[in-house]
């Protein structure tokens, strides 16, 4: 689904990522790990075209990102669900409006997605919070709402950036469970986290590969650490 070849990225001066080669195949589950500031978010941003590679190629859904127009990028983002590190909600809209926003902006009839919306709200257990504003949600609620929004258009790929960053261990385990469930439904999942315990926790439940960013390069290993 997503393929990086000799990809590199720098914000200007020093390189953040260099010579990255990886293929995120359909239906795979990847953890992306590395210390804080190592470039996990940067890697994910290359995957959903918030950043363009400074070197090498990035192919998403079969297309070279350099050849994409802004409209092409918009179309790709409708097929990739992203759980952003800081959630990225529209603060003046309710949880329900935020979760349905991808459906709204893609010009679909929002009513067609209401069944999906109801199921998602049950699944992430936020049904009784749908009228709350983002500022009124707890950390765990925000993360689950962000996950629900990432899934509203039933994307093939889910990229989650520190989805358990602001929540306690129990909630973290619960969110991980949801992501594993999605992978079992055939979706390609990438979870960026610096939390090793979370990765160990998942090991028994899903055959995940671990990508580790170290000294600006990406090391690929099996499920073992």
């Amino acid at each position: 689904m997503i393929e990086l070849k000799k990809a590199g990225f720098s914000y200007g001066d020093g390189a953040i990522l260099a010579d990255v080669n990886v293929h995120l195949a359909k239906g795979s589950f990847h953890f992306l790990t590395g210390p804080s500031g190592s470039g996990k978010s940067t890697f994910l941003k290359l995957c959903y075209q918030a950043l363009m590679p400074s070197a090498g190629t990035v192919k998403v859904l079969g297309k070279d990102v350099r050849a994409m127009t802004q409209d092409d990028i918009a179309m790709v983002r409708r097929r990739i669900g992203v759980v952003h590190q800081d959630c990225q909600f529209l603060d003046h809209l309710s949880l329900a409006e935020n979760v349905l926003m991808p459906s709204q902006v893609s010009g679909r009839d929002v009513r067609d997605d209401l069944t999906n919306f109801n199921q998602l709200m049950d699944w992430v257990d936020l049904m009784d919070r749908i009228n709350a504003l983002p500022a009124e949600l707890s950390g765990g609620e925000r993360q689950r709402a962000a996950l629900a929004r990432a899934l509203i258009l039933s994307p093939d790929v889910i990229l989650a950036d520190e989805p358990t960053g602001n929540v306690d261990w129990a909630m973290g385990k619960r969110l991980l469970g949801l992501l594993i469930e999605l992978n079992k439904m055939g979706k390609t999942v990438v979870v960026a986290t610096h939390d090793m315990n979370l990765i160990r926790e998942a090991k028994s439940e899903v055959p995940a590969r671990v990508l580790r960013i170290q000294n600006n390069s990406l090391l690929v290993s099996g499920a073992d650490l």
Partner: protein
């Protein structure tokens, strides 16, 4: 025809359509109320400028019509000579180029002319009232100086009174005023376009976080442009509707004075001209639509 249909569908889409699209842009306090206010004030001013143009246009037309035709020759002569002198004067006038007809006014007509001052019971027979000859000029008009000299030589009691000629500079002035009104209307709408562009740009930069989020969840630029354009078009339409209505009511209740006398108090709309100011809100909305669209497209051109 097809293009027209598409344009119409777009307009409907813009004005009715789904409420939620409108909520995407947060209700950003001052830029949108600024837009309403500017649109309202500009609409108000443009309605007045329009009224001024129309009123001065009417005045210029009326005055130049009056100028076009009449002047008079007044003959004050001792009793007994008046009739003779009038006859000579008439003969001179008939052969003068630039005059299409000349006619001695009857006593009855003169009485009517004097009635405002002396009442209609005036015993004309016993008064030394001068005889009046009414002259209708053709489009060229006579050589006034030459005619005056000739009359002085041959009809000692005759005075040529070209009483409307003094108004000629006023006709020019009135036409200039109309032009001024039209230029004002153009300037008003250009200023409105500029101010709405600035307001739209400031709203776009104030909402860069919203725009970023919309892009992250797969919004195309056209969607974002539409959300902003909608907001500003509706604001401009509402504001200018209020401004226009207010100006029209104001003009409707201006004290009425005969238009011939004082041209500023003749400010107003006559008959079907009342329809013209009603186009102002639509023009304002169209300007807001175009200005916001250009501003938004320009701002969003950068990388996502």
């Amino acid at each position: 025809m097809n293009k027209l249909k598409i344009a119409w569908a777009r307009a409907q889409d813009l004005l009715s359509g789904d409420q939620s699209a409108d909520r995407v842009v947060p209700p950003s306090g001052y830029t949108s109320s600024l837009t309403s206010f500017v649109a309202g004030a500009m609409a108000f001013l443009s309605v007045f400028a329009l009224a001024l143009s129309l009123a001065t246009g009417r005045l210029a037309e009326r005055w130049s019509n009056e100028l076009a035709n009449t002047s008079t020759v007044r003959i004050s002569a001792p009793e007994g000579q008046a009739a003779e002198q009038a006859k000579i004067a008439l003969e001179i006038l008939k052969v003068t180029p630039g005059i299409s007809s000349a006619r001695l006014m009857t006593q009855e007509e003169q009485r009517r002319l004097l009635a405002p001052w002396f009442g209609d019971q005036l015993p004309m027979e016993n008064l030394p009232i001068p005889s009046l000859i009414e002259i209708l000029e053709d489009s060229q008009g006579p050589d006034v100086q030459g005619l005056k000299l000739r009359l002085a030589a041959e009809v000692p009691g005759a005075v040529l009174d070209d009483h409307t000629r003094w108004r000629r500079p006023f006709v020019t002035a009135a036409s200039r005023l109309r032009l001024l009104g039209l230029i004002s209307i153009v300037l008003i709408f250009v200023s409105m376009a500029a101010m709405i562009t600035l307001a739209a740009q400031s709203a776009l930069s104030a909402n860069d976080q919203v725009i970023k989020v919309l892009r992250l969840i797969g919004a195309k630029n056209s969607y974002i442009v539409k959300a902003f354009v909608r907001r500003f078009t509706i604001r401009a339409l509402l504001g200018s509707t209020f401004g226009t209505l207010f100006a029209m009511l104001f003009i409707l209740f201006l004290p009425r004075v005969a238009e011939e006398g004082a041209f500023l108090t003749g400010l107003g709309f006559r008959g079907w001209h009342w329809i013209l100011p009603m186009f102002v809100p639509f023009l304002a909305a169209l300007i807001a639509f175009v200005a916001t669209r250009i501003a938004a497209k320009h701002t969003l051109q950068g990388p996502s």
